[in-house]
């Protein structure tokens, strides 16, 4: 089961060690977070599912795409995880890409509770209108297939 770590200390965003990016103190406003997501980002998030856990490249790619997406963002303002529909098939329903420290993909079956803040995102993640749900410490951002965002 994935762990959520609510620590506020600096955690290396990039699996290969950050290049000082996470140390920059850049406040990211909601406006910044709500900008349209790039196609690359959407593609990577969508393709991650198929690659599953064994392919570690996928996670690295996601990390770099995330950094590209949010620029020099402070770790606190980045999503703690991404929830989306799971296409592994029955009985799996949703999965979490944990972005805090453990950085793993965790798949959840129908009826299996997800940890903490993630459970709130479940119903929305299952809805066809949204491709993925970014879960933040204090909010969720719903991303549609075309990359447009909605704060919730």
């Amino acid at each position: 089961m994935a762990k959520i770590i609510f620590q506020t200390s600096d955690v290396a965003l990039n699996a290969q060690g950050s290049q000082g990016q996470t140390h920059t103190r850049g406040y990211v406003s909601d406006k910044e977070l709500l900008k349209k997501r790039s196609k690359r980002y959407m593609d990577i998030v969508a393709s991650l599912d198929a690659k599953t856990l064994t392919d570690t490249n996928g996670m690295d790619e996601l990390m770099s795409a995330l950094q590209e997406e949010f620029g020099t963002a402070e770790i606190q303002s980045l999503p703690i995880g991404i929830v989306s529909k799971c296409f592994l098939g029955h009985p799996y329903e949703v999965h979490i890409l944990d972005l805090t420290a453990t950085q793993i993909i965790e798949h959840y079956k129908r009826g299996e509770a997800m940890p903490g803040d993630y459970e709130k995102a479940r119903t929305l993640a299952l809805h066809n209108a949204y491709a993925v749900i970014e879960v933040y410490r204090d909010k969720m951002i719903l991303i549609r297939d075309d990359g447009t965002t909605t704060k919730f």
Binding site: K120, T123, L124, L126, H127, A129, Y130, L142, T150, K151, F152
Partner: protein, 584 residues
């Protein structure tokens, strides 16, 4: 011996005395008994009296209460009466005072309407206009309308100098009202350039954080083409500037967004009875119903926005009437100076109207004030016009303009609303049919659920039957009696066949009764099962329909979103340009 007989005599005598004494005592005791009976009766009478008193006291109490309320009523009525009398006296005094202080103002107002009419028709000579307007200018120093009328009169007779002076004077007295006045008069007389100039000045007066009520009408007039076409450019530029200013500062847009979300939430249609079985048997029906209502809202909102955006009625005539109304209000309304007096008069009028109820009159005047002194910021004005144009004093054209300007945050609010609805969609329909609890996502697992229900009832049957234990005691007693009979029979007592028979009957009856009860329970359970099966199937069928309808209604959100994102302010202005072209 003689001594002994004496002693006996003495004893007898004493005995007699004692006897007679006892008899006396007896009679006394009887007397006491009688007395007690009397006392008892008296006590009864007293207690009756006390009860009577109690009753009387109760009556007195209610009487007293009645009196107290009557007294309070009287005091209140008296106060009202006095307030009424006072109000009547005051209103007379106030009116007199008003007449003395501002009597000329009323005359000027009457005159203003007359002058405007005569300018329209051109039936009054310049000389008359000149004398009349100059006279009021002397009579009412400080009132802005007087020099404004002088300006109009001098303008008509081409007296440029006087006109400029008069305009300068009225602008000095009340810049805002004079500007509005000239803007409206120039528009009425179709002096395009002049009205545009005044319009520009009018816009400069406006504070986007605190707009006047009539601003919406001016906005409307411009969008409907009542002002010259160049005014649209002016308005769009001004609106854009205000928007940048307001959207730049946090909070304003946020406020509008939450108002829109609240509006969306409140737009849901009334629930109907399409799913009677689920309503009865679904334990999470409240959630299901709320979610369906939210989903059905999208269709309502689609109709709402579609109605706004596709309406293209030519409303310029109506708008012109409204503009003239502002003009007539402007010239006929009281000046700020006299307003406090008029308010006092109004309060006293209300007191008289309400038969001296001062409190209600105060409350009424407070709400009246609130309605008329409503200053709103530009974004709020747009939102008001978009929600309910009639209430905001706007028409469909302005509503469309308001929606198109507010589009960015309407879309945001709509997205939030949709996400909120979707996050609250219940994942399963939870049912409780006759104690059998089950849940289905979309009704596709009917077979599994029915099988589970079968299992539930066979278990129920088993447990119900287990409750009817075999009647061991009766059978045992019957057997024992039978044994005794058997023993008797074996020891050649033919009479002992009787216990044998009794024992046999006892045991037999007990077993028979047990069998009967079992059959009854089995019958009951199978009846219940039959009914419950029907209900469960109906519930599942409704769950299927529910999900289908919910899905379809939910998808309408996407078309509303498309509709909303397709609006742009430019689109609207081209649309209104057409309207303008039609008019000019």
């Amino acid at each position: 011996m003689g001594d002994a007989s004496d002693l006996y005599d003495a004893i007898y005598k004493n005995l007699d005395v004692i006897n007679s004494n006892v008899a006396k005592i007896n009679s006394n005791v009887v007397d006491i008994g009688e007395g007690l009976v009397k006392v008892n009766a008296n006590v009864l009478v007293v207690s009756g009296g006390v009860e009577d008193l109690n009753q009387r006291q109760g009556i007195l109490e209610t009487d007293l209460q009645k009196l107290a309320t009557a007294f309070a009523d009287f005091v209140e009525a008296d106060l009202k009466h006095k307030a009424l009398a006072l109000a009547e006296t005051r209103i007379g005094n106030l009116r007199q005072e008003l007449q003395i202080r501002f009597g000329f103002y009323a005359e000027i107002r009457r005159m203003a309407t007359g002058i405007l009419q005569s300018v329209d028709t051109g039936i009054v000579s310049d000389a008359t206009l000149r004398t009349a307007t100059e006279e009021v200018a002397i009579k009412a120093p400080g009132y802005w309308l007087a020099p404004a009328l002088v300006a109009i009169a001098s303008w008509i007779r081409d007296d440029r100098d006087t006109c400029a002076k008069a305009i300068r004077e009225c602008l000095k007295r009340d810049d805002y009202k004079s500007t509005l006045f000239f803007m409206l008069v120039m528009r009425r007389l179709s002096r395009k350039e002049a009205s545009l100039g005044w319009l520009e000045r009018y816009f400069m007066h406006q504070n986007p954080y605190k707009l006047d009520r009539e601003f919406i009408v001016v906005l409307e007039a411009i969008t409907a083409g009542a002002f010259p076409p160049a005014s649209r450019q002016l308005m769009m530029g001004q609106c854009k500037k205000w928007l940048d200013q307001l959207t730049g500062s946090e909070g304003f847009v946020e406020e509008q967004r939450s108002q829109w979300v609240a509006f969306f939430e409140a737009s849901g249609p009334q629930p109907d009875d399409r799913y009677p079985q689920l309503k009865k048997f679904a334990t999470n029906w409240a959630l299901l119903e709320a979610s369906l209502r939210a989903a059905r809202t999208h269709a309502v909102l689609h109709a709402f926005f579609d109605g706004i955006l596709t309406s293209s009625a030519d409303l310029s005539k109506e708008v012109k009437v409204q503009l003239d109304e502002i003009l007539s209000l402007l010239v006929s309304n009281f000046d700020d100076e006299e307003l406090p007096w008029h308010e006092k008069v109004r309060l006293n009028e209300l007191i008289i109207q309400l038969n001296g109820d001062e409190k209600s009159a105060q409350a009424m005047i407070a709400t009246e004030k609130h309605v008329f002194q409503q200053n709103v910021d530009f974004l709020q004005l747009l939102t008001n016009a978009a929600f309910n144009p009639e209430l905001a004093g706007a028409t469909k054209t302005t509503q469309a303009l308001a929606v198109s300007i507010s589009q960015p945050w309407i879309v945001e609010a709509y997205d939030s609303f949709t996400a909120q609805c979707r996050s609250k969609i219940p994942q399963a329909v939870e049912m409780d049919v006759d104690g059998f609890k089950s849940s289905t996502k979309d009704g596709s697992d009917e077979k599994t659920l029915l099988a589970k229900q079968d299992v539930f009832y066979s278990q129920l049957l088993r447990s119900e039957l287990a409750k009817l234990s075999f009647p061991f005691p009766m059978v045992a007693i019957g057997g024992l009696i039978g044994l005794i009979g058997l023993w008797g029979l074996l020891s050649d007592f033919p009479i002992s066949a009787v216990p044998l028979v009794i024992g046999g009957i006892m045991g037999g009856v007990a077993i028979h009764n047990n069998q009967k009860a079992k059959a009854k329970v089995t019958e009951q359970v199978s009846q219940r099962k039959k009914a419950a099966r029907g209900v469960l199937r109906a519930c599942i069928a409704e769950a299927v329909d529910y999900r289908r309808e919910h899905g379809a209604e939910d998808m309408k959100a996407e078309s509303v979103r498309q509709l909303l994102t397709s609006i742009t302010a430019e689109d609207f202005s081209s649309h209104s340009k057409d309207v303008a072209r039609n008019i000019i």
